[in-house]
């Protein structure tokens, strides 16, 4: 317990915390704007309009 002083923990939280937040934000922006994901997102956003008919089974899947 002694090695883990309050100041050490605070220092870690303040430095690592900042960098991982920035890294995650960049990662998410890359994912969202990745050109190849465009079609997936478009399909997903329209897919919910017509989904009450029951689960898709093998034959229905294109």
């Amino acid at each position: 317990m002694m090695g883990l002083s309050h100041d050490t923990v605070v220092g870690f939280a303040k430095s690592f915390g900042l960098f991982y937040l920035i890294a995650l934000s960049i990662g998410i922006c890359v994912y969202v704007f990745w050109p190849r994901n465009r079609d997936r997102f478009r399909r997903a956003k329209h897919s919910i309009m017509d989904d009450e008919d029951g689960p898709l089974t093998g034959e229905d899947r294109q």
Partner: protein, 550 residues
Amino acid sequence: MITRFTIAERQASLVLLLLMTLAGLAMAAAGAGDAMGVHGFIVLFASLGLIFVVGGALYDPAPTEDRSRAYYDDPIKVGIVLAMIWAVIAMGVGDWVAWMLAFPDLRFDGAWSGFGRMRPVHTTGIIFGFGGNALIATSFHVMQRTCRARLAGQIAPWFVILGYNLFVVMAVTGYMMGVTQSKEYAEAEWYADIWLVIVWVVYFVLYLRTLARRNEPHIYVANWYYMAFILVVAVLHIVNNLAVPASFTAAKSYSLFSGVQDAMTQWWYGHNAVAFFLTSGFLGMLYYYLPKRANRPIYSYRLSILSFWGITFFYIWVGSHHLHYTALPHWVQTLGMTFSVMLLVPSWASAGNALMTLNGAWHKVRDDATLRFMFVAAVFYGLSTFEGSFLAIRPVNSLSHYTDWTVAHVHAGAMGWVALITFGAIYAAVPMIWRRETMYSWKMVEWHFWLALAGTLIYVFAMWNSGIVQGLMWRTYTEGGTLRYSFLDTMIAMHPYYIARGIGGLLFLAGAVIGFINIWMTIRAVGSDSKVLDVPTESEAGEPAVPVAE
């Protein structure tokens, strides 16, 4: 409903129920004389009752349904009805509590009926009973539809819905007997908490297994919000409730945390309960039912993903804004404050996304009260998150904290956002799930809408006034440097606002009762024929009648 179980599933449920009966019996015996004993009897009778239900249908014919072609909607139906029952109970208690604050005699001298016990009955009943059931039920609906796959299990969804309600019943009855951990929104004691962990893990696994079955390549964004709700609530619940029972045969336990650590853990839990219970899951509802009802895809799918991660990251850090000017280190308070202000960005992105989706379909919003519920909910979401970010600023909080301003903020969020989006989602879901053309009465939906809106506005404006008056009176000094007003003076000043709140609450409650009746009449299919699908969901349809057991 039991007839959809295979014989093996009926037997398995009986075994499970038998185990629960034994657990109830053990609790009742060991905890005799304590609240735990009463809870033992509740578990015992609930399980016995279900044994009769399942056992009575044990030898009914086996199901003929083709499960690969049908969604499993029975648990959703029960979840929606339970949500509405809890809504009426908990809003009723909320309004009683509101009148009690105006007229203290309304506590009626019972130990169980005091403000301190009835208030958590309101908060738990409304957040967990009403909100939780609505979240679980709609999540079962959304996950199946967006995955185009059936729920991954026949017993698990029932275990989740019924087990969850058992938790809420234990929590609420416990408070009336004086059981509490004294942690807001986490008052229930250790055995109820452990039970909720079991239920919640089953829920999480069920969700993951259904997603794994999906027939769509991409997981629709609403699911992400529901998943965040389930996962984070699990973590919050387990950490905040770490405690050592004083005895294994009684309810009392002692938290693992103390002092300022306890406070920080509690409000890390508390605010993330707001974030992941009262926001994230309901945003999942918004992202599914609003586009669907408006018949327009969400305005920007990318924005919905960006705001999802924004909300998820930022919310985790804001709990310390509940502890401004306390023993908590100053920088932790500042951290919470900063993140709270940043949180406005993804929050408004979600609200804006919803409103932009409706842009161009305003005639639908005007004509359709169901869509209007969702529209107004999005507006209140924007409003309450703006207010929240504002209240989190330390000097503002010095005025608002401890006053009714907080209560106004809570109910702008809880009634204006959470309850209205839920009613909108339920009105959208009920006809789909029960296969009706429409709700029984659209006029009743209109009535509900206007009562709910009026109730919310009256409530929130009354509490804003009361809170700011109260806050300002507390900080008014005389020339001699002493406080100008006594506590009693502030109480007298607040009295009229408390009466106004009671009236607002009554309107809101009346709306919910009308909603419940309307839903019930829709279920009973009064005056309507059930909708026939072009793809049969039950293979019994069109087949010769199955012989009925004698």
